[in-house]
Symmetry: C2
Subunit: 711 residues, 2 copies
């Protein structure tokens, strides 16, 4: 037991957090469990519960107690231990990829085998020949080799064509010679490379017979399987401390005339003839765009989880944390002897707090319905492509790029906003939001930089607009449809006359559609008529993508809740509750972006004032369900690891327990005192006097009566 | 030397960072040193250089090399060491408060003595009697006692009236009895309390003769001066890990019937009669509002520094980091043999990057001019108050609250935006922006929560509007003036007809004024006519304060650059360059907030399109001076501690050096390998074969020719 302990008999001031959360839960208009099932489906929930029970009973993976307290040295070692244990559990229980994902989500810490599973083995599977799969994939699945994915370089991120590392084929020895020509060509950021991986998929410029064919994937062994020492010709290490992700050994890698055998080039698509060194081109592969859609649908689903998790912590805590008093609506409680007294107001009752937090909750549900729609469209499109119909692919791919950007940008902002909305205590790591933010952040950069990606989306929208306007587009996809609508009614006006009209989904959707189409038209005008450069238009291009994807999110959300035909019992009340949430998502988004629709002239100034009013009205509608709506995401305390967001509301008990675990509290006098504080303090010794108990004070501090002796 | 080293002969890809930065600097329209002097004045710069030279030559304070690499245990111990050394230097050089601030800024790490200097000694100075100053202040200034400031409690932050800790006067023993009645009454967040302070200023509810007089300040001894052990009746410790600030021991403190002598109540204003226990009320003190203005002016000046520092790193790095190519304006260089080739484009040439970063640079200059104006107005107002004229106080105090909120919110956002604008490498701690963000963040919460504070500002503006409209306000202050103007011209329209009209300072200023007055009018209408509650209007109230303060910032910036009458030589070109920056600040702010002026009807939709164009045009004007404008803030590399922002542009050399220092790289095989990786990898042993050098590979990986033996 730590020598520094809080008095165990003391309780927090009334009312207690548990009671407040119970009150919140009892106010909800729907049954939380029903909504949880609607979100995840029974199969997923059963799987999750099964895996959770394995993890919380596991002697290694149950332990998260060090996470907020130790430096990288200890955390990385514990991450290695957890990685091994997770690998064992995967083998033991023969977990499917879905089950592994659930376990990773619950354990909630990226580890050194992360890229082995998510990039190394899938790349061999997708791009290796049968021979290569046999050679590399099988041992990889048994963790007898551990891999990483080495693409980015110190000087080269998103632009793959700029990579410098070369792999030159030497037909005489039938080997590829890997070379790092400059310092900037060092592979960099590669997860699991620093201290862990035995092998890497390396992207290097393939040069054969004097010709550079650009970046291609190779399997390269980096370390000796016996000793784990780097092989001669390889310089490898960890890139050093990061803002988060201390439990992953992101690494660097340089090659000095490093030779690998011919079998190293992943040869399912491109090949090099072993004898002649002749390069054999890959076939065109439109299908791989389909896979990107799937990956991005998963990222959107993950954003849902990130938003909901941050909202869970901030909303639960805001229902408990009390401060000041709302004069128009003071909070009163009755004490044990029946006397009513005024207490401080829970901050969630303040409109500003609702305005900050409830839209984040709404965003999480918005991501849920869009993620579901993307999965559905992915499968529909795959079926269409199998029938030779590629007409939906471009739209789907373009939208998925922008949606990755929009939802991860939103999720990053939400964690930090939720952390700040927890006031001072949000700054404690025991809030659970600080490390979460640090570890989630890279998502905005990897799998496509969030700014660059939007150019893909916008490029497609501009092209679509030009062809629709020229009467040459007969696609029935979503984008072409709303642009056609816009061009058919160029002088349309928003029909809203009172605030309540902003609860009509059709009205809202039309505003969002008009907004994007107008912005696209302006940008086409800028590029085609005013002849402005692409670079000059980048800001508008970013905004177009964002606007288009916000429209998609609103549209999917409305479809998900208003087109739901099951109207019996709980389904009915849940649809009503989610209906309010969908309106909140749409209106809070619209309010934030209202300059666009005012600029277009579609929405008039007076309507924009009504919109503000309706946002406040909608927040009030959603407020009573706030805790229930986050509860429905069903995040276990094991995952949240948060004093503020704990399911039972014991905020202050948990905060003080977590403070007791601080290593500095393990001794009552701090290590270093003798060297750094004592010399300063003891320099004043001549000015001390002792009290009756022999304790030293400044002379004059004690009353005469209590002053027994001089030092 | 670490076993993992980058090859020393390799250089980054051409062109080199140094060359790129030199090109940027030579493009500037003004002399950087002149601008630096204009910002700081010669006296400050000389002082800064003198102190910098002491620090970089000091064996203790020179060392920042551990900062990004170690856990809290080591960092806190090093912070204790640095605190002692800083205390010694302060005594040795007899540094003034200004000099201490400079040293703290350069050393750039909050330490355990921080609150001792910034809150403990000033509180005794301001609120202690002469006897108390002699007793406590003199030893405190010699660091023979070390203090902290214990106000906030676990359950009580901004609302001081909610504090629970009591100090009950016992006339019989002439002592105050301190008591912590609940868990939530624990003092919490107190900097320097956890393991360091011997004494605290404690805010506790003063109870005497049965009556509660609310929170009052006491000086309380916490630890034995001999042993540093907490005294009986005191529970004290560290509150545990935080998002940043690991080098400060923020602490908690609970009292169990802890008695302190009568002299402990800081008695310059309120007193308790020693014999009767009678409470003697403090006089009203309007003057203390003046002090708050001064503190907040300093916070605005600090925001300037935060914004400029983040911009320095991101802008320098963006001038070096190259990615892709701008088709309309490709970047070309000539190599040593005179051949021109196309290279990747520095990201600062992309409009989106300029749009993200240059407004932050402009914000830093905006804070500079507003901070200067606040200092000036503080002194003017102090002089007026000395003459009995309090008519400027309310306006100044209200504006200073909102400015603290606006500028710190802006600074927090800027660090993170700059970090992200550095792409992947911004996520490395060696970027210098990650820890900077973590350590600066609390500023948005302390010294007044950034949301709560805005209520003070808005309350004043609403009151002013009501009185101006009623014809009862004859103040000549800024706010009353622009509201009068608005009410005199209720149907005014923005006169802009072409994009270039948005470069007219008068035109811009009028838009900002009209905006605030309209918003205030709307809110007064909501409260007074529609009878909406204060709580329902909190969102608008926040916005009003923000809008008012943005107006102040634009106004001060314009005054600072366009009213500058010194037009000779460098002053002239500097004014021109800063004029562009001021327009950028105003227009980028206006674009972000344009919904307000569209909603008011003052700005028409077509004008809003012109505004967007002019923002882009202004970015292009500022772009050539970007590096020079950050250079002018003159941050030494010792302060920046950043591989990306280093003054000489050796980005990649520094990144790789800093990676080499990562502790994980001190051994080539990671500690933990034997326990966690080896068992997995060696399970595949039967599938290995050795090459000619005895290195183990997967069987089948090596070519036949190179396969000498089986394991």
């Amino acid at each position: 037991m730590a020598p520094t302990c809080f008095p165990k008999h003391l309780k927090p001031i009334e009312p207690q957090g548990q009671v407040l959360l119970q009150q919140e839960r009892s106010k909800a208009t729907f049954d939380i469990k029903h909504l949880t099932e609607k979100i995840y489906g029974r199969h997923y929930l059963e799987t999750k519960d099964r895996i959770l029970s394995i993890l919380v009973n596991d002697p290694v993976l149950n332990d998260k107690s060090h996470r907020y307290y130790t430096g990288r040295n200890i955390r990385f070692k514990k991450a290695m231990r957890a990685a091994k244990r997770m690998a064992e559990l995967i083998k033991e229980h023969q977990w499917t990829p879905e089950e592994i994902n659930i376990a990773d989500m619950l354990f909630d810490e990226a580890g050194p085998f992360r890229l082995h599973r998510s990039m190394f083995t899938p790349t061999i599977e997708g791009q290796g020949t049968e021979e290569q799969k046999k050679l590399f994939l099988e041992p990889a699945q048994r963790y007898e080799i551990i891999g990483c994915y080495a693409q980015t370089e110190l000087g080269h991120g998103s632009n793959v064509r700029g990579l410098e590392t070369t792999a030159t084929y030497d037909a005489a020895t039938q080997t590829f010679v890997f070379q790092s020509p400059t310092l900037t060509s060092s592979k960099w950021w590669i997860g699991g490379l620093g201290k862990t991986a035995t092998h890497a998929v390396v992207m290097a410029r393939l040069i054969t017979n004097g010709k550079d064919h650009g970046p291609h994937p190779f399997i390269v062994q980096l370390r000796d399987l016996v000793s784990h020492e780097p092989l001669p010709g390889i310089t490898v290490g960890d890139i050093g401390p990061k803002f988060g992700f201390g439990t992953v050994d992101n690494g660097f890698l340089m090659f000095d005339h490093y030779r690998v055998p011919h079998v190293s080039l992943l040869a399912r698509f491109s090949q090099v003839d072993k004898i002649t060194g002749e390069y054999i081109k890959p076939p065109n592969d439109k299908l791989s765009y389909g896979t990107m859609v799937f990956v991005r649908a998963n990222i959107v689903m993950e954003s849902r989880y990130v938003l909901a998790r941050a909202a869970t912590v901030a909303i639960r805590y805001s229902a408990i944390r009390a401060q000041g008093s709302d004069a128009a609506n003071p909070k009163k409680i009755m004490n044990k002897v029946g006397v009513t007294k005024t207490v401080e107001t829970p901050v969630l009752d303040y409109m500003m707090q609702q305005y900050r937090l409830l839209p984040i909750l709404a965003q999480s549900y918005a991501c849920h319905f869009t993620g579901e729609a993307m999965h559905r469209m992915y499968y529909e499109n795959q079926a269409r492509m199998a029938d030779g119909d590629f007409s939906y692919l471009a739209d789907l791919h373009a939208s998925s790029s922008g949606l990755k950007s929009l939802t991860t940008t939103m999720a990053v902002a939400a964690i930090e906003e939720c952390r700040r909305a927890c006031g001072g205590h949000g700054y404690l790591l025991s809030s659970g939001l600080g490390q979460f933010y640090q570890d989630y952040l890279p998502k905005a950069t990897w799998e496509g930089d969030n700014y660059l990606l939007t150019q893909q989306t916008a490029r497609y929208l501009l092209k679509t607009f030009r062809s629709v306007r020229a009467g040459k587009n007969f696609d029935k996809n979503f984008s072409a449809q709303y642009m056609t609508e816009y061009l058919t009614h160029p002088k349309a006006q928003c029909p809203v006359t009172e605030a309540n009209d902003f609860t009509n989904p059709e009205t809202i959707l039309t505003i969002f559609k008009y907004r994007v189409a107008f912005m696209v038209e302006q940008t086409v005008h800028g590029l085609d008529v005013e002849k402005r450069t692409w670079n000059d238009m980048l800001v508008e291009i970013y905004r177009i993508s964002r606007a288009h994807c916000q429209l998609i999110m609103v549209s999917n959300f409305f479809q998900g809740v208003f087109d739901d035909k099951t109207t019996a019992g709980q389904s009915n009340v849940i649809s009503a509750a989610l209906g309010d949430v969908s309106i909140l998502y749409a209106l809070s988004t619209l309010e934030q972006e209202v300059a666009d629709v005012l600029t277009s002239g579609y929405v008039a100034p007076a309507q924009s004032l009504l919109l503000k009013q309706q946002v406040i009205a909608t927040l009030k509608k959603v407020r009573p369900n706030a805790v229930a709506l986050v509860d429905a995401f069903d995040f276990p305390d094991y995952l949240l690891n948060s004093a503020l967001g704990e399911s039972q509301g014991k905020v202050y008990e948990r905060l003080t327990e977590m403070a007791e675990r601080e290593p500095l509290n393990h001794t009552s006098v701090v290590d270093g005192y003798d060297d750094y504080y004592r010399p300063l303090i003891h320099a004043g010794k001549s000015n001390w006097e002792l009290d009756a108990n022999g304790v030293a004070h400044l002379r004059g501090y004690l009353d005469d009566a209590r002053r027994p002796a001089k030092l």
